[in-house]
């Protein structure tokens, strides 16, 4: 049997590389702009990114369990609409009711995905592309694409948890950041510290092995997709709070942004591997780049192109790829189709 020799460099895993790349970008932006490294801007990035991090925590659970979900972002839009409409009917509600409703509605949408994937044995990407279209289509059809601007007061008024006055104005940390911290902690607890989380890892790592150990694969599907659904519901509520409006297509397309960032952070498509820290770093890289482009005055039309490029570069900079490139450069002998 030919030995598989690891080309990994001594420097740590994906997280280490992401930290290096992020540090380089931060260093550049700190020098190139005088607004990047200010409390106002850093808090802005945090407030803005909270929704994506909540999405990412949920998506990571599904990826680790060996699945994928494309529908969660439009699912979050559906939850926004249903929750805000329902709360309006009963006279407004409050934070507790809003959060509970969003979690439950989101988990229900996730359960629909889980049921289709597990009971009908359809692969997850196909199911969730279908439900992505279904959720979004239903939403557009029943709302006629009309936004809701008339939110309950508790939802539309900014909740500031911490603020400090600086030369550039008030720097504020708002509620979504707290919700993000709680979600990340709860997800960490689930994945690393509970028996069910370890079973999720096991299922993603070796499905047949998990089945033979008697792990309830159906329950694991409901747990993973339900968890993502609940996170997405919560993220939807936070996004409505942050934007102070509910726009049916506001989150459309967010799923790929989050997916790319989580995979960039080392989660394996196929399951069994991934860390919250990596996922957060992946998102941080994208958010910081986007923020930096803004501050540098780059045309917003160029954002997607540049972010796509940054993701490609960052993924290529993982230890394995560098080893490969180095061995190619060492001698043309090893190039081409020769291994």
């Amino acid at each position: 049997m030919p030995e598989t020799r690891s080309r990994r460099l001594p420097i740590g895993g994906v997280e280490g590389w992401l930290l290096v790349v992020i540090a380089l970008i931060v260093a550049y932006l700190s020098i190139a702009t005088d607004t990047f490294l200010t409390l106002v801007n850093v808090f802005d990035i945090l407030n803005y990114s909270a929704v994506n991090v909540i999405f990412a925590a949920g998506l990571l659970v599904v990826l680790i369990a060996g699945g994928i979900d494309i529908s969660f972002a439009v699912g979050a839009s559906v939850v926004q609409y249903l929750a805000v409409t329902a709360l309006g009917r009963i006279g407004g509600g409050d934070w507790a009711l809003g959060i509970a409703l969003s979690l439950v509605l989101g988990a229900c949408l996730g359960a629909i995905n889980a049921a289709l994937i597990y009971h009908f044995r359809i692969i997850s990407i196909v199911v969730t592309i279908a439900t992505f279209n279904l959720f979004f289509g239903l939403l557009m059809f029943f709302t006629g694409g009309v936004s809701i601007y008339d939110l309950p007061d508790w939802l539309s008024s900014r909740v500031v948890l911490y603020d400090v006055e600086t030369d550039l104005g008030w720097a504020e940390i708002t509620l979504p950041v707290l919700v993000m911290v709680v979600t990340v902690f709860a997800t960490w607890l689930l994945l690393r510290r509970t028996s069910l989380g370890r079973q999720l890892f096991a299922m993603g790592d070796n499905t047949e092995g998990a089945r033979r150990l008697g792990i309830n694969l159906g329950a694991m599907h409901y747990l993973a997709y339900g968890w993502l659904g609940a996170c997405a519901g919560l993220a939807g509520l936070m996004q409505a709070h942050y934007a102070r409006e509910v726009v049916p297509n506001a989150l459309y397309g967010r799923e790929l942004e989050v997916l790319a960032a989580v995979v960039l952070g080392g989660a394996r498509l196929g399951g069994g591997r991934g860390t919250l820290f990596g996922a957060i770093l992946g998102l941080a890289l994208v958010s910081i780049t986007q923020n930096g482009l803004n501050l540098l005055g780059v045309s917003p039309y160029a954002f997607r192109m540049i972010i796509g490029f940054v993701i490609l570069v960052a993924i290529s900079l993982s230890g394995e790829t560098i080893g490969l490139v180095a061995s190619r450069l060492r001698g043309p002998k090893a190039a081409g189709s020769v291994r």
Partner: protein
């Protein structure tokens, strides 16, 4: 068949099965089988693929339900309505051939994963897991880094992890499905030492295999199944691989060494001083037309690495390869195929065949360019004819050429791989472990084809871990160790024992 079926000896049975039958649709997988294991006994369960071994394990481990009328007792108590969980609770553990481990997880967590099971939400106690895993490994007398991910371990060590995991669950009866299939001789010996320890601790072990030579001496009895029926249970004292093969297949195989043939002319393959750093050094050998040259050695001796270079997959650092006298420079295996070299890979299942594709497509994939019509499009008729021709010549038992390859047995899959390369009309065919996972009965058929090819003038380089099959089929044998060819044997002039001694010394 000189060994008489042995009547059950007196003494307590750990498990006793009678009248166990199992049907799947129209297929009778098990037919009135009886089976028993004593506490702490080491037993072999032997039979060819499809004989019912796996079905029997699955019945005992609660995966399949036997037909009514079966009598199954564990420790004297009836085992009715067995489920996998109940079987495990009784102490019945199966170590499947694929081990069913979690490669990304640590050794400790794999061993103690039982602690994570169950539908109740609990906090994970990694400390307790580590302690438990360490205690079990200590009991087994092996030393494995508890924090290493399982994917970083060799197959032999993964197997130890799987055994350790079985012991966590207080095993009393452990089935090992083909445990030695991918182990070297030394690793097998280490495994057998562990099995003896288990046996001394009153844990019964059942080896399930069709390659039993090395486990015969640790076990007391061997139970043989054929076509779903019990052939008999025999004491292993006096049992030989040959006798066992006869019991398993119901046929006798005459094996004799090739008569030495002198050959002249230009060698098909002539290698001079071939070297690739870290893989093989200063290799010089020649294969004449129609000659079968064996290449034996331990795992890691560099045989597969050499084969990959001869097939253009890796580039040697130094030395020359000549094909029919002309120097050969290969940029990739496409050049090798064009020059007339075929390679049947060691890992047939993943590398040699495109499993979900049809038998026909797999057969013609190497010669697609020859099957085009005047317009440069694939000609269905040419394809059909070629496939039919090869299936006929190789005597492959198939349903329909459009069925996926994955529906064929191991032996027939290997024939398809051979057909694929023979269709290219190779001058040199490199066979890397062609009988891995192939039944004893089907092996003979494969070598019949190989000899026929050689008789037709194809030069054959045969790599195998099974010294006997090389000894009985090759004209000459090279022994490779640590990347060098160290000695040459001619089977007609030496004994099998002498060759085996040299390899495993």
């Amino acid at each position: 068949m000189s060994a008489e079926p042995q009547t059950a000896p007196d003494g307590r049975d750990l498990i006793r099965l009678e009248h166990v039958s199992k049907r799947f649709g129209g297929v009778q997988a098990l037919d009135d089988v009886a089976f028993d294991v004593k506490p702490g006994e080491v037993l072999c369960l032997a039979g060819e693929n499809g004989c019912g071994k796996s079905t029997l394990i699955k019945v005992i481990s609660g995966v399949h339900k036997p037909e009514t009328g079966a009598v199954m007792r564990f420790d004297g108590a009836p085992m009715d309505d067995l489920t996998p969980a109940r079987a495990r609770a009784l102490g019945i553990q199966v170590i499947w051939q694929d081990l069913a481990l979690f490669p990304e997880m640590s050794v400790a967590e794999n061993i103690a994963f039982e602690k994570n099971l169950g539908a109740r939400l609990r906090l994970v106690d990694y400390g307790a897991m580590r302690r438990e895993a360490a205690a079990i490994l200590d009991r087994l007398g092996v030393d494995i880094d508890l924090d290493a991910p399982v994917k970083s371990l060799s197959i032999a060590r993964r197997q130890l992890v799987a055994i350790a995991r079985a012991l966590v669950a207080k095993a009393r009866l452990v089935f090992m499905d083909e445990p030695t299939a991918s182990l070297s001789r030394a690793e097998t010996k280490a495994l057998l030492r562990i099995v003896r320890r288990l046996s001394e601790a009153d844990i019964a072990v059942v080896f399930v295999s069709h390659r039993l030579a090395e486990v015969l001496d640790v076990s007391s009895r061997v139970t043989v199944l054929r076509d779903g029926r019990l052939v008999g249970t025999y004491p292993t004292r006096g049992m030989t691989q040959t006798k066992l093969t006869e019991l398993m297949t119901g046929r006798t195989f005459g094996q004799e060494v090739h008569a030495p043939r002198t050959r002249s002319g230009t060698p098909v393959l002539a290698v001079e001083g071939l070297t690739r750093a870290g893989e093989y050094r200063d290799v010089s050998l020649a294969v004449m037309p129609g000659e079968i040259v064996g290449l034996i050695g331990r795992l890691g001796a560099g045989r597969t690495e050499l084969a990959l270079s001869l097939f253009g997959m890796t580039r040697p650092d130094a030395g020359t390869i000549r094909l029919e006298g002309r120097p050969l420079r290969m940029g990739s295996n496409r050049d090798a195929i064009a020059a007339g070299i075929g390679y049947v890979s060691e890992d047939r299942l993943s590398l040699g065949l495109v499993q979900p594709q049809s038998i026909g497509d797999n057969t013609v994939v190497t010669v697609l360019d020859r099957l085009v019509d005047d317009f440069g499009l694939l000609s269905p008729k040419k394809r059909r004819d070629l496939v039919a021709d090869w299936i006929d010549r190789l005597k492959v038992k198939i349903g329909h050429p459009d069925d996926p390859v994955s529906t064929l047995s191991g032996g027939n899959q290997q024939r398809i791989v051979l057909a694929k390369w023979m269709a290219t009309g190779p001058k040199l065919l490199i066979l890397d472990s062609p009988t891995v996972g192939v039944d004893v009965g089907a092996r003979a058929g494969i070598f019949e084809i190989v000899r026929e090819l050689a008789a037709g003038g194809v030069a054959i380089l045969l790599i195998s871990d099974e010294t006997p099959e090389v000894y009985f089929n090759a004209d000459r044998i090279w022994h490779m160790r640590d990347g060098r060819l160290i000695e040459e044997f001619v089977p007609a002039e030496t004994t099998l024992a002498a060759v085996e001694e040299a390899v495993h010394a």
